[in-house]
Amino acid sequence: MSLSLDEVKRIALLARIAVSEGEAAAARDQLNGIFAMIEAMQKVDTAGVEPMAHAQDVMLRLREDEVTEPDRHALFQSVAPQVQDGLYLVPKVIE
């Protein structure tokens, strides 16, 4: 397989990363090199093999339904790029 320039631009937009034409072309060549290496996986027959999503074969632990977190928005918002009246500001959201 081989990625096209348009595919690189499509995934860059999906990933919300601005890329110039030059960057997209360079990324395409590098990604194609990497995918050529990754392609080795396809040689192996993995029929019937259970995918492994976690390093340990353990089930999820649950927490009790208790409120444990106090209001710390002033501290949290001290590192925010732009806030007003306790709200995070972003360019207008259009639905």
């Binding site: 632990r61 339904d65 409120v67 977190e69 306790g86 709200l87 959201v93 259009i94 639905e95």
Partner: protein, 476 residues
Amino acid sequence: MQWETVIGLEVHAQLSTRSKIFSGASTAFGAAPNTQACAVDIALPGVLPVLNRGAVERAIRFGLAIGAKVNRTSIFARKNYFYPDLPKGYQISQYEQPIVEGGAIRIVTRGGEKTVRLTRAHLEEDAGKSLHEDFHGMSGIDLNRAGTPLLEIVSEPDMRSSEEAVAYARALHALVRWIDICDGNMQEGSLRADANVSVRPLGSDVLGTRCEIKNLNSFRFLERAIEYEVRRQIGIIEDGGRIVQETRLYDPDRDETRSMRSKEEAHDYRYFPDPDLLPLAVSEKWIDEVRAGLPELPEAKRARYEREWGLPAYDALTLTASRELASYFEDVVGAGIEPKLAANWVMGDVAAALNRSDLDIAASPVSSAALAGLLARIRDNTISGKIAKDVFDAMWAGEGGADEIIEKRGLRQITDASAIEKLVDDVLAANPKSVEEFRAGKEKAFNALVGQVMKASRGKANPAAVNELLKKKLAG
């Protein structure tokens, strides 16, 4: 051409946990912006999700209540997309292995009863809110709601009209409140529906292209949005056009649906199992415990009211509209009142009074015990059913219990035969014309005479005794 509408609903119910699904922040509604958004909710670097047992338990309750399969293992996945109200850039949801699969809900419409099948119900987290008031042309983000547990309940496309869709949504609304997993407060967004709507020629078994209408947070909007959307789709097809699969937003002010620009961009959610969350196991033991803690479900109650108490299907359905209503009714019956009498009063005077005062049954000024006290006075002939209505109104107005009001107002029924005879004689003497008409075969005249006697007794004479005595005197 005759068209058939095909509707499936995705309903998001906020689960009534104290804390969020993956964090210990409060879920209480209405707090100042971001004061209930903790480190996990705002997705600080390095924080991790830990699942709330209460959310899982509520999902199990729902699964059991609709006769679904509760999966012993389910998987949390990430649904990836960028949106300012989604702090992590992904929503933790369930994708390939949801906690609940299958099940069904019965609905009743003018067309009769019908079963709507459910596809699945899965756990996920809610997003925050974008506020669009003018912040110098920007939007403000409040993440208090981010991480509130949701159960997304997905139906099969089994509904054929907006009426059925609303009946289904109402049934779901009643059920989630019944089993105490969601407060059902639609103004606060506790229950929100997305409708998948398509049309096809009547008789066809191929599904048409569907549109998903988002943001339906009232039964009325659900109904209006579907009706508008059906008209829109039929119009397009009849004009030779084609339906484009898309997400649409219902605008209640204009009563129409419109395409959502932000969702137009081809979305590719890149679902994959969340590496921060291991598979969720639900043991047989846990399911048994949850089952044992479930209240009697509306279905079972309806059947029991009909079978054991001989109530008509309509009454049984009405009285099981909510758990509070059913328990009020059962308390009245439990105090020794015949079920049908109790049903008539609960569905009649009580419901009407609640409606007038815009109150819930739980807040009724006349308690179930007080109502039972009143109805007992009808049964033992202390008062007539008609007088009872006045007593009820006085009770509603807070004037005291039934006996107190009956005594205070001297409403005790006149059952003494000689006293009634005196009244009858006076009325007969004063109304010779009516007596004559009755004798000439006018049945109506008899009723007028009964009315006069009752009036003369200020309603307190026992109507049966009056009837009997009048008949005897007129015959004599």
